[in-house]
C-alpha cells in the first residue's frame, strides 16, 4: 500500500521564521555553554552539594534517552519483525534517534565536571556501577545508530562524489569505497540492528537502576527495585508516540501530508504498551503500599498524580478510541501527552523524588540550565531539518519506480 513511497531529500527552503527562532534559541544556549566552560558548572547552574544532578541529567540525558527510543522500537517492529507498514517511518525514526543520542552524549559531556576525562570509563571499569553500564551502552549504541545511518549516507553520495580542484582525482576512489561500504553494510546490517535493540533494552532499564542506589534519598512513590523495568516499559511505550509527534510536526513544517494510515496503526499499538506500563506502576504502588503518600497536597503527590493521570491514563484512554487514532489533531495531542508523561516521569525520578537528608533549599533549574536544554532541543530540530533536506530520509510518493529493497527502500543505482 505504501509500496510507491520513496525516501527523497526534501527541496524546501531552510530559512523560515520558525527556523530563525530556533537559531536564536540555539545561540542563546551556546552563550551559556561558553560561560559554563570558562567559569565552571557553578557559574551557570543551580546545582549544589545537596542537588548534584539537575535539569541536564534528568531532561537532556535521562529523558533524552527515553524519547530517542523511537529508533529502537521501530527498528524492532520494522526490521526484526519485518512489518512492511513501518518502512516509511524507519528512516525518520532512525535520524531522530541518532540526533537524540548525539545530544544525550553532549548533555553528559557538558554536565561532567572534568569533561576532558569523558573517555575514562573506556579503560577504567566498574562493573558494579549502573552508570558505567549506561555509559558504555549509550556509547556503543550511538555508534550503532551511526552505522545504521550509513546506508542513507552512501545512497546520497554513490555516483555523486564531485570534489573540486586538487581533490577531484579522489572522486573515483571515494565512489568505489562508498559502493564497497554499501554492499558490505547491506549484508551485515542485521547484526547491528539486533545489537541496537539489545543495547537499548540494557541501557533503557539501567537508567532506572541509576537512582536505586540513592535509597532513602528518593521519595517512596518513585523508589522501587523495579525502577529498571518501569524505565524500560515507559521507554518502549513512548517510542511510537515520539515518532507520531515528530512525523506530524515535520509534515506540517514541510507542508506535506502526514502518513496518517501508518501513524494511526502505530498509535493503536501504544495503548497496550502504556497499559502494561501503567499496570506495573500501579501494581508496584499497591504492593509497596506507597499510596499512603498520595494523600494531601505535597509536591510529590501532585507531581505523581499529573504524571500518572495526564501522562499515562488520559492518553491511554484516548488511544483506545478509533476517532482519536484517525484524527491527525487528536492523535497528535494523545501522543504528545505520552511524551509529556515520560518526560515528567524522568524529571520526577531525578529531581522531584530526590530529597537529600540535609537539604537547605530546594532545587529549581537556573535560566542558564533551561537555556542550554532549550538550545539543545532547538539544535536537534535544526539538524533534523537540515538532514532531511540533504539526505533521503522522508518518504515521498515516487513518480518513477517502486523497487523493493531488503531492509530499506533503496534508490535506483544512480542515473
Amino acid at each position: 500500500m505504501n509500496g510507491f513511497m520513496k525516501p527523497t531529500p526534501l527541496s524546501k527552503r531552510f530559512l523560515t521564521p520558525g527556523v530563525v527562532v530556533l537559531l536564536l534559541l540555539a545561540v542563546n544556549g551556546l552563550a551559556f555553554l561558553i560561560v559554563r566552560f570558562l567559569f565552571g558548572i557553578g557559574a551557570v547552574t543551580n546545582l549544589s552539594d545537596e542537588y548534584p544532578w539537575g535539569l541536564w541529567v534528568s531532561v537532556d540525558v535521562a529523558a533524552g534517552v527515553a524519547l530517542a527510543a523511537g529508533g529502537f522500537t521501530t527498528a524492532a517492529f520494522g526490521h526484526l519483525m519485518h512489518r512492511e507498514e513501518f518502512r516509511v517511518i524507519l528512516r525518520p525514526a532512525l535520524l531522530t534517534a541518532m540526533l537524540g543520542y548525539t545530544f544525550v552524549a553532549l548533555g553528559v559531556f557538558i554536565d561532567l565536571g572534568r569533561w576532558y576525562y569523558i573517555w575514562h570509563p573506556l579503560i577504567m571499569w566498574n562493573g558494579n556501577s549502573a552508570l558505567f553500564e549506561v555509559g558504555m551502552c549509550v556509547m556503543i549504541y550511538a555508534t550503532v545508530l551511526y552505522i545504521e545511518f550509513l546506508p542513507i549516507f552512501t545512497e546520497r553520495f554513490i555516483g555523486r562524489v564531485r570534489l573540486k580542484g586538487v581533490l577531484a582525482r579522489m572522486n573515483d576512489p571515494f565512489d568505489r569505497l562508498l559502493r564497497v561500504l554499501d554492499s558490505g553494510l547491506a549484508k551485515t546490517m542485521f547484526i547491528f540492528v539486533i545489537a541496537g535493540v539489545v543495547l537499548s533494552t540494557l541501557h533503557q532499564s539501567s537508567l532506572g537502576t541509576l537512582m536505586v542506589i540513592a535509597g532513602p534519598k528518593m521519595h517512596p512513590l518513585w523508589q522501587t527495585p523495579i525502577l529498571p523495568l518501569l524505565f524500560l516499559l515507559s521507554a518502549v511505550a513512548v517510542g511510537f508516540p515520539m515518532v507520531i509527534v515528530e512525523s506530524i510536526l515535520a509534515a506540517r513544517s514541510f507542508g506535506l501530508k502526514p502518513e496518517m494510515e501508518v501513524l494511526s496503526r502505530l498509535g493503536s499499538y501504544v495503548a497496550p504498551l502504556l497499559g502494561i506500563y501503567l499496570a506495573f506502576k500501579l501494581g508496584d504502588m499497591f504492593i509497596r503500599e506507597t499510596f499512603v503518600y498520595l494523600g494531601g497536597f505535597t509536591t510529590a503527590s501532585v507531581m505523581f498524580g499529573i504524571e500518572i493521570i495526564v501522562g499515562v491514563a488520559i492518553p491511554l484512554r484516548m488511544l483506545l478510541s478509533r476517532t482519536v487514532l484517525q484524527s491527525e489533531r487528536w492523535l497528535f495531542i494523545a501522543a504528545l501527552l505520552v511524551v509529556f508523561g515520560v518526560l515528567l516521569n524522568r524529571i520526577n525520578n531525578f529531581i522531584v523524588a530526590y530529597t537529600p537528608p540535609h537539604a537547605i533549599e530546594t532545587y529549581f533549574p537556573s535560566i542558564g540550565e533551561i537555556s542550554v536544554t532549550v538550545g539543545f532541543v532547538a539544535m536537534i530540530a535544526l539538524l533534523y531539518r537540515g538532514c532531511v533536506r540533504f539526505f533521503p530520509v522522508i518518504s515521498l510518493p515516487d513518480k518513477h519506480t517502486a523497487r523493493k529493497g531488503k531492509y530499506t527502500i533503496r534508490a535506483e543505482e544512480q542515473s
Binding site: 519483525m81 565536571g113 575514562h120 539501567s206
Partner: protein
Amino acid sequence: MEIEQTTRREFLRHTAAAGGSLIAGSVYTAQAGPKNSLSPDRMGVLVDTTVCVGCRTCEWACKNAHGIPTQPYHAYEDRTVLARTRRPTHSALTVVNEFPAGETNTHPIDVKTQCMHCDHPACVSACIVGAFTKQEDGSVLWDGDKCIGCRYCMVACPFQIPSFEYSKAIQPDIAKCDFCAGRTSQGMLPACVDICPVGAMTYGPRTDLIKVARARMDRYPNRYLHHLYGEYEAGGTGWLYMASRDFSSLGFPDVGTRPMPGTAESIQHGIFAYFMPPVMLYALLGALMWITKKRREIEEEAGE
C-alpha cells in the same frame, strides 16, 4: 592483616569481568570493580557526642592537615557560626554542628560531621570509573586521577558527604574526609582525633571500638542512649557515634541497616550474570528476525 573473603557477589563480579573482556576481545584484563576490601582489622573512630564541647579545634586541625586555607586558631573561639547548621564542603572536610539542649539535656549537644567511611560504601559501588576505593585500614579514598566529575557519588551517598567544586572550570575536585590517610600511614593519628582537647574521639580497630562503646553504655546507662549509630547503619560505618538522645534529633539521617549498594548491585549482576541475559536476548531476537523473514518470503511467493 588482609583477609580476602570471596563472597558470591565478588565471584559473580569477577566472572562477569572475565566474560566482559572475552566479549570485548581485549587483551587488557580490566578489574571489574574498584578495590573494596573489608578487613576485619579495619580502623574506625568512636565519637562521643556527650563529651564534645563544640570548640571546633578539629575543624582547624583538619584544614591544616589538608592544606586548606583557614582562619587563625583563635578565630574558632567565635561560637556564632554554630547558630546555623553547616555541612562538610570542599573547603571544610569536617564541621561541628550544635543542637539545642532538649528536655533531657542541660547542655547543647555538639556533633562532628565528616565522611562515615562505610563498610559497604555507596560511592565505591556507584562511581563510574572506580575512583573510590575502600582500603584495608577502613578508609574510603577518592582518586583524582580517575574522577570524571559526574557527581554520581553525591547522588549515591546516604550521608550526603562528597562535595564538588562547582566554581572550578578545570580539575574540580570531589572533596571529602580521607581519614587522614597521609598521617595514619606514618603512624600518626587522624588530625581531628589527635588535637581534640576533650578526648571526644577514639581511634582504633572498629571491633574494639564497638566493645568500648558497649562498655560505656553499660556503665553509664543514664548518660547514653542504647544505640551506637554506625554499628549497623547502612551496613556498618567506620565512624561510630554515641549520644544521649535520639540520633534523628541530632541531624543523623535514617538510612536503614542494609548496605546501600545491595539492591542496585543485585540488579546489575542479575542483568549481567555471566553476560548471559544480553547474549540470550541477542540470540532470541536473531531467531525472531530469521523466522519472520522466512514467513515473509513464503507469503510473497504465495502472493506472486
